[in-house]
């Protein structure tokens, strides 16, 4: 068995992995990238639509154009990488076992590991859609791969279940290819994806968006022949008698993404409710020296945000190696970040007490859309941060960047709560206090 020693092993060479590896390399680290696909770039390669890079490059790029800049930089920096290489195990003492065709089994001993495996799409089974199980049902990303990478069109008439971003982008893509997209069906009362995709991908092409409806039966024994949709009440229960049949030969599912957490679990890292690992403000998981960034940590809306997060992970992994990697597991003095009213989840899960004065990045999603809200961070009942927003929706991740002055947070603080409150409610609270 071939054995290697590296400072930092990066698992996954999508936008997260490349970004982290580039930053770690710039910090003088000996980095190795492990990628299971046969090329660098990850899922961004199949996202041939535009809208990438507005934040980082101030340019409107396609996915492949965006990721190529990172691939080029990684190559210029001569960062070693292994393609077609699948990590099958990570041990708790940071030994990685991986396989590929040419080298067989590899054992890689790393001082630090960056997890950047991305996410996967929810499937039909995970949301329990009833009906037949014919060919012609694809996840939106799978259809995107068929069309944009393999060069095949998987059907002629489509219904898209779920209004996630990839689903809406595929609605437009398939329309361009001459397919008919009969409807995008969403169980919620609002789209799950970005508003800009609703406008540019559905409204601009007159693709009907059917809200408060779900698929209640798939028809067709061999190949999809149609679907029955039904309207749902507030509890997402089917309303009797509201069935409607739509003829189609294909169904795309765009019903959500979940972090790819297999290796994270194998490494022994604790997971949080969103499916990604629990991390502190340095993006370090509960395993000493194992970091996570990108969609494996939390599903992002924009690749630019992934790249920014990846950069922080790369930098922090380098700092870890310079300062702590030989010291063994240390006892951290951590403050727990708790999601409160109307907060679905928040990352990071913990902040190191000693880092309170550094610039901290919080990412969160609301549970329900709302208008005229205030984002607050509270230590018990004392508000230590607040910012007003005119509206919030679950599909748009909220970023909070802040530093805390030492006098603001009490020395025995163990918990900070982050909440999204209506502005009006806050005024009431003020009066009471």
């Amino acid at each position: 068995m071939k054995s290697l020693n590296v400072d930092i092993a990066v698992i996954g060479a999508g936008s997260a992995g490349l970004g982290a590896a580039i930053e770690a390399k710039k910090q003088g680290m000996d980095v190795l990238i492990l990628e299971r696909n046969d090329e660098l770039g990850g899922i961004t390669l199949q996202c041939i639509h535009n809208g990438f890079g507005l934040k980082i490059f101030k340019e409107d790029l396609t996915g492949p154009e965006y990721i190529q800049r990172f691939i080029d930089e990684a190559k210029e920096l001569k960062i070693p990488y292994k393609l077609d290489t699948m990590v099958i195990e990570i041990t708790e003492d940071k030994e990685i076992y991986a396989v590929n065709k040419k080298e067989g089994l590899l054992r890689i001993k790393a001082k630090a590991i960056i997890l950047s495996m991305g996410c996967r799409e929810k499937t039909r089974g995970s949301i329990n859609i009833p009906g037949f199980r014919p060919a012609g049902m694809y996840t939106a990303g799978q259809a995107q791969r068929f069309v944009n990478i393999e060069g095949y069109i998987p059907g002629k008439t489509f219904v898209i279940l779920g209004s996630g971003d990839i689903g809406m982008i595929m609605a437009r893509r398939l329309t361009w290819l001459g397919c008919e997209v009969k409807a995008v069906v969403e169980i919620k009362s609002y789209v799950s994806g970005l508003i800009r995709n609703q406008v540019q991908c559905l409204e601009d092409y007159n693709i009907p968006l059917i809200l408060n409806h779900t698929i209640t039966k798939i028809h067709g024994k061999d190949r999809v022949e149609g679907i029955t949709i039904s309207s749902v009440d507030q509890n997402w229960d089917q309303i009797v008698g509201s069935d409607e049949y739509i003829e189609c030969d294909s169904i795309l599912l765009s019903v959500g993404l979940v972090p790819e957490n297999e290796l994270t679990t194998k490494a022994g890292a604790e997971l949080s409710a969103n499916g990604g690992p629990v991390v502190d403000n340095n993006l370090e998981t509960t395993i000493d020296g194992v970091f996570a960034c990108g969609n494996v940590l939390q599903v992002h809306d924009l690749v630019d945000n992934v790249s920014e997060e990846a950069k922080r992970a790369g930098k922090n992994a380098a700092i870890y190696i310079k300062e702590r990697s030989d010291k063994g597991q240390i006892k951290k003095d951590l403050i727990k970040i708790v999601p409160g009213i109307n907060v679905g989840y928040v990352k990071p899960d913990y902040v190191n007490f000693s880092n309170l004065e550094n610039l901290l990045h919080f990412h969160l999603r609301v549970k329900e859309p709302d208008r005229d809200v205030i984002i607050v961070i509270k230590e018990v009942n004392k508000i230590v941060y607040q910012r007003v927003r005119s509206f919030v929706i679950p599909s748009e991740m909220i970023e909070v960047r802040t530093k805390f002055k030492p006098e603001v947070i009490s020395p025995n603080c163990r918990e900070l709560k982050i909440e999204i409150l209506p502005v009006s409610l806050l005024e009431v609270i003020d009066e009471v206090e």
């Binding site: 068995m1 089994l105 996967r120 499937t123 009906g131 037949f132 998987p154 290819l177």
Partner: protein, 494 residues
């Protein structure tokens, strides 16, 4: 005559009969209407090897089940299919149900079911199955019960039958049977076959096929059962858990699968359409409420698939294994639960019918080989073994299915084994590529690519499960307009 024996139907019953008869000096073939064997009732089966206490004494199936259960140990050694005697528990949630457990134990023990025991010590029950509901009052433990992969067992039977000379014709739907001198002529869509003996093991279609041969003696009704399968490593069950049975079925059970998942189901729904394997909102709700009665901690949000299968219920409510008035035409029908458990006993009965009722003089082949080599799985390898395998064959180092860690080598093997996979589902059921939590989201295009290459068929022609179940419709055409223009235009091929 082309054949001595033709078996109609490539489910577990047909394949087990084929393998059992392949021991003898007979020219045999098996006809299957679908693109693969194990495509009907066999595929959506609970995969449980029953101990045999359940069915009423008046039924043939009780005798076959108890005997069939015992035949599994030898078969497992010979055929190398995934099988484990986990033990089963019938769970009483009310005092009054204990009476029924006692009845089952006493009669079961009398009829030769080994080790039946009623347990009322809650601590002991919880040690046996920590996930079982706290409301349990007593259980009937049957240590000889177990779990098996029904389709992998069927593939093993077919492969071994093939090794011993049985020919398999898939996509050969029988459309007519004519009595001819000393045998039958069987019409299928592609061609005609003749045979001295015909064994009808066509499951849901058995009554129809029997009528084709002129033996109109029974009816088959479809009874649907729906299931939900959960992701692995979330919850673990040690034992197969049954509620107290109802008149129609053994009730909604919760069970481990041989590959470490957990499933709940099936319900029992008498339907009209013999091909309606759709799941329903009502059915899925029903099995969830049944499942949580036994296992309150079911991880309902980690479901990875729901599916349904049809039981072939005969009007006698029992197995029909008999020679008919059409001499040489044998029916093996109405094989519902515990049909899987009974399978080897049913095949033995067919041998008896051939010898005693049809007067066949069955001679054992000189070169009969009962052993089917175990397919190699990466998951069974040590690290050193894996490294060595990749050195020998690089395809072991290319992981195609990421959820189940299935390398290219296993997929190629699934295609090239005897009676191998020709479809994406064929690959999935033979080597588990696409069975995991992403349900083929990542690997399906790659499995298609490997099927296309190994079978030398165009990528576009690769199907999910045969005719009509194609995945792709058109090719995306890229036309470069001019030399200096960077734009390209895509047109869908008409």
């Amino acid at each position: 005559m082309d054949y001595d024996v033709i078996i109609i139907g490539g489910g577990i019953t047909g394949c087990c009969i084929a393998r059992t008869l392949s021991r003898y000096d007979l020219k045999i073939c098996l006809l299957e209407k679908e693109a693969d064997i194990a495509s009907g009732t066999t595929k959506a089966n609970s995969g449980i090897i029953h101990a045999g206490y359940a069915a009423d004494r008046k039924y043939l199936k009780r005798k076959f089940c108890i005997h069939g259960n015992k035949l599994f140990d030898l078969a497992h050694k010979e055929l190398n299919f995934p099988f484990k005697r986990t033990g089963t528990l019938v769970v009483a949630l009310e005092e009054r149900q204990i009476k029924d457990l006692v009845y089952k134990r006493n009669y079961g023990t009398e009829d030769g079911v080994p080790g039946l025991e009623i347990i009322i010590d809650k601590n002991r029950i919880k040690r046996m199955e920590p996930q079982l509901t706290d409301k349990v009052i007593a259980v009937l433990h049957a240590p000889s019960g177990g779990i098996v992969s029904p389709y992998e067992l069927t593939f093993a039977l077919a492969e071994n039958a093939h090794m011993n000379g049985v020919e398999f014709f898939r996509e050969h739907e029988v459309i007519g049977i004519n009595k001819i001198v000393a045998g039958f002529e069987i019409e299928t869509k592609p061609k005609k076959f003749t045979s001295r003996i015909v064994i009808n093991a066509s499951g849901l279609f058995a009554a129809e096929v029997s009528r084709m041969a002129g033996a109109d003696t029974f009816e088959i009704y479809p009874r649907r059962g729906e299931y939900i399968l959960f992701d692995k490593d979330i919850i673990h069950l040690n034992k197969v858990l049954f509620p107290m049975p109802t008149r129609l079925s053994k009730g909604i059970l919760a069970s481990p699968t041989i590959h470490g998942h957990v499933f709940i189901g099936p319900n029992a729904d008498n339907i009209l359409d013999i091909e309606d394997i759709s799941t329903t909102t009502r059915g899925l709700k029903e099995i969830i409420s049944g499942g949580v009665m036994l296992v309150p901690n079911l991880p309902l949000n980690t479901a990875i698939r729901n599916f349904a299968g049809l039981r072939a219920v005969s009007n006698t409510m029992d197995f029909i294994i008999e020679a008919t008035e059409m001499v040489g035409f044998v029916n093996v029908a109405g094989i519902l639960s515990p049909g899987l458990t009974s399978t080897f006993a049913i095949a033995e009965e067919v041998v008896r019918i051939l010898i005693e009722d049809l007067g066949e003089e069955l001679k054992e082949k000189e070169k009969y080989n009962p052993y089917r080599p175990k397919p190699e799985h990466l998951s069974d390898f040590t690290k050193m073994k894996l490294n060595q395998k990749i050195k020998e064959n690089q395809a072991w180092g290319r992981i195609i299915c990421r959820c189940e860690t299935i390398p290219e080598a296993e997929i190629v093997d699934a295609i090239h084994r005897p009676v191998g996979a020709t479809t994406v589902d064929g690959v999935k059921f033979r080597c588990r590529a696409g069975m995991g939590r992403c349900q083929g989201g990542f690997c399906m295009p790659r499995v298609m690519e490997i099927l296309s290459r190994e079978l030398d068929i165009p990528y576009k022609e690769v199907t999910k499960r045969g005719k009509g179940s194609h995945y792709l419709v058109n090719k995306v055409l890229c036309i470069k307009l001019t030399e200096d223009s960077k734009e390209s235009e895509e047109v869908a091929e008409k």
